[in-house]
Amino acid sequence: MAKSRNRATTEVNAGSMADIAFLLLIFFLVTTTIANDKGIAMRLPPKPDPNQPPPEVSKNDRNIYKILANSQDRLLVEDEPWDEDPDVLKEEIKKFILNFGDPGPEGQDIYNSLPPKLKAYISVNGRRPDSSQDPTEAVVSFKAQRGTSYKLYIEVLDAINAAYNEVYGERVGITGDEFLALDKDDPVQKDLYNKARKDIPRAISIAEPDKGVR
């Protein structure tokens, strides 16, 4: 008899626990801002040493892909006005990197290591005499003016990076997006990443805009 009475009193009513938890949950749902800090990673060039003369540019003109943006947000690509989508620009840059017009010994090694799909791509689109010699030589140069909008700057930078990522990815048989998603903490994926990046530098040159009044 006494036992059964005891049991009845020891039971705590836990029904309202859910309500309390709900209240807290809603509070956190409302105040939460899930950190979504993503962006285009870049490395700025180190500051030039004032004691040394600026390095001379000895690059062959064909190895530099010139993109200029003016303050009216118009692009000049390879000395021609550009009216098309940034997506087309990505394709053009990719063709430029993978041109193999006149590869040196290193460039030839890279060419030989490419998968057949990319070789086919090169034989269709590449080998032009007015484009880059090989990926080790190729440089994409981008110069914006002070009046250029940041939006356009990011758009072009994005296109250049997309072209490089696609080249890296397709070199090891994955897409550009998959290449970007490779996790460098995982040894297998890190290997793949290194294999894709090997010998092809991500040569993006961001020129300083002309000095203006501060």
Partner: protein
């Protein structure tokens, strides 16, 4: 008829005893993922769209620079301004800001400091490149142009 009724004699209640546990699980998820906003952003922040985004590897190495038109144009004007932490700073103070941020890190990590540039898309490049020159002077070379993700076409 009575044949069927006998079978449905069991209790129709759904046991709700596990409900608090489930709610608590959700609660903990949100508590863990939550970042309480530390700084009050005083400039317009509509980040540009991009496709080739990378995540920040180590959160502790990142410092933020916000650039954009001030939200309160009546007091601060329409010219884009640079904000770090909770204050507007002058272009010449960027180096000092970088150095104080570097001092917070241990010596081995100092060169790995990443500056996350949160720039409004309507800003002109002039101020952005000025900041970049200052960052080069301050030897903070890793930069992340913070952007919104869009699916590639």
């Amino acid at each position: 008829m009575s044949k069927f009724r006998k079978k449905t004699g069991t209790s129709q209640d759904i046991p709700t005893a596990a409900l608090p546990d489930i709610i608590f699980m959700l609660l903990f998820f949100f508590m863990v993922t939550t970042v309480l906003r530390e700084t009050d952003i005083m400039v317009k922040q509509l980040l540009p769209k991009a496709t080739q985004l990378t995540k920040i590897e180590q959160k502790s190495l990142v410092s933020y620079i916000y650039i954009g038109q001030p939200k309160n144009t009546a007091s601060f004007g329409r010219e884009p301004k640079i904000q770090t932490n909770d204050v507007f700073i002058d272009i010449n103070d960027v180096i000092q800001f970088v150095n104080t941020e570097k001092d917070k890190l241990s010596e081995v990590e100092r060169d790995k400091i990443t500056m996350s540039m949160k720039v409004d898309e309507e800003t002109e490049m002039g101020i952005v490149s000025d900041v970049q020159q200052e960052l080069r002077d301050a030897n903070a070379l890793k930069v992340l142009y913070s952007s919104r993700k869009v699916a590639p076409k």
